[in-house]
Amino acid sequence: MKADVVVVGAGIVGSTIARELSRYDLEVVVVEREPDVAFGSPTKANTGIIHAGYDDKPGTVKAEHCSRGNALWHKIAPEIGVPLKETGSLVVALKEEEVNALKELKGRGEKNGVPSLEIIDDRERLLEMEPHLNREAIAALYAPSAAITSPYELAMAMMENAAQNGVKILLETEVTGVIMKGAEVKRVRTNRGGIEADYVVNAAGLWADRVSAMAGVKYFTIHPRKGEYYVFDKKLGGLVHRVLFPAPTPVSKGIVVTPTVDGNLLIGPNAQDMEDKEDVATTSSGLAEVFTGASQLIPLLAEKGPMVITNFCGLRPEPNTQDFIIEAYKEVRGFINVAGMKSPGLTAAPSVAQKVAALLKESGLELREKETFNPHRKPIDRSLRELNLSKAEGLIDQDARYGHVVCRCEHVTEGEILEAIRRGASTLDGVKFRTRAGMGRCQGGFCTPHVIKILARELGIPAERVTKREGKSRLIPHRVKEVLLRGESDD
């Protein structure tokens, strides 16, 4: 296989870079080790905030790209049909000592070009803005340009748009080597064969240090920093209107309380340094920490335990250099690192993608803009879910399967599920993350058997082979009577 550029990783960064490169007349191949786009832990388990950009120290690479990325997402999200809600954010000081931190953040933000920052020290006004805020709140930094979105939907939509514009994606494909000739990249080796390419963009998230080392660039390491979350029932979705942060610590932005773009309430993440890049288990101490932390901002949460519908956990790719690593190298021409893209990685992605294009050009890649580039991607129609009944009627007239509701809690129809499968979903999670089927309050209790049957039918495989997310994750591995007839079965 041959390509002009190989992009390693189909998380939010890799897919945004792919979409950016799809503007140009290039053969771009994205290589992703997971069975689907956005299945890596950083993108899949993410707070989904488009940060305003006041957190990052001016002069850092993060600062360079965060507020720019914020502005770019406001333009791109509607193009690709992904919801982005400008809620604004509040960094809340609950103690006198924390107010200084707010001032420092405001100073940073102004230097970074963040618009309309304001420190509100009028408690009445704060409580008017957020009626359930801890009444001990002293002041808050208000950033109107912060927004919320769906991180995995964003990545999947970017990749779909990239594919519309000619980008190829190879899933379950892991890079095992970067082959050079002299000081130039020539080939990428994967578990499924080689790809000849002169340019490789390393957006491999948690594994970026490993891939970089394959090219001989070994000056940084990535270690996973775990963050756990709770999701609350949509009935609490209106409990807060903005993204609420506590005063930040050197380690993380803190445990957030935020509405989600789908209408739930999300709290988290905590921050725990790990060694194992595949440890995505939630822990009782981590979850407790998240709950306690969130209850500090919104005391009412302490009694809302019964309204939790699920929890999950992600891993941030922490670079030991403390900043984004977006570099090209003279000694390894054609190899671009885009590593350590922890927060604000998602926010910064579109700006970083433009920088990557510039680095590629500097490295000798010709970038000719494609006339046929289409920035628009139609989302899967969710008219019924949004109870846009007049629009839904038209949809059902065209395809009756949009009238057959499969996921009761989220009102997801068979039509949407079929569309998700058409767009690449081949697993239960693939359907779930594209349609929200299984994300409601019953967490798939009702719809899972139906979705399994639909996947089996559409993929032409027996239901026993349908998986949650490929590999060994078969959901219903045996036909009934099989085990009984075989007798005492082996494990």
Binding site: A456, R457, G460, P462, A463, R479, V480, K481, L484, L485
Partner: protein, 130 residues
């Protein structure tokens, strides 16, 4: 005492759920204590000497649009035969149409009970690939 065994049995005839203490010698019940009514005594005796259970499972079906049909035994079967009955019925596949009460297997394993269908299934085009 020599050759005697004492066992506890929970009576399930009524919600009281008395826990009877049963003395057994040579596999026969010689004493039942701690029961509040005679119905319980009948149950406990049977439960020790010849325990029976309702039997029900599913059998595979062809031509019904669904893959299995629930079935049940017309009479309780000996408790120790439950798994064997289940294994025996795993071997067969029935064809639609099926009506409640249709005899699926007569005199299963020679136990003197029939296995009958517990649901109505019409003959239908197979909906999925099985």
């Amino acid at each position: 005492m020599r050759g005697e065994e004492r066992r506890k049995v929970t009576c399930i005839v009524c919600p009281l759920g008395c826990e009877a203490t049963v003395t057994i010698k040579n596999e026969r019940v010689i004493k039942v204590e701690n029961l509040e009514c005679p119905r319980g005594e009948d149950y406990v005796l049977t439960e020790i000497e010849a325990p029976k259970r309702d039997f029900f499972t599913t059998v595979q079906v062809r031509g019904a649009g669904v893959p299995v049909c629930p079935v049940r035994a017309t009479q309780p079967v000996p408790k120790e035969k439950l798994l064997e009955c289940s294994k025996e019925l795993a071997k067969i596949t029935v064809d639609a149409p099926i009506k409640i009460g249709d005899v699926i297997v007569e005199n299963l394993l020679g136990l003197g009970v029939d296995i009958i269908a517990a649901r109505n299934l019409e003959e239908m085009e197979k909906k999925e690939n099985r």
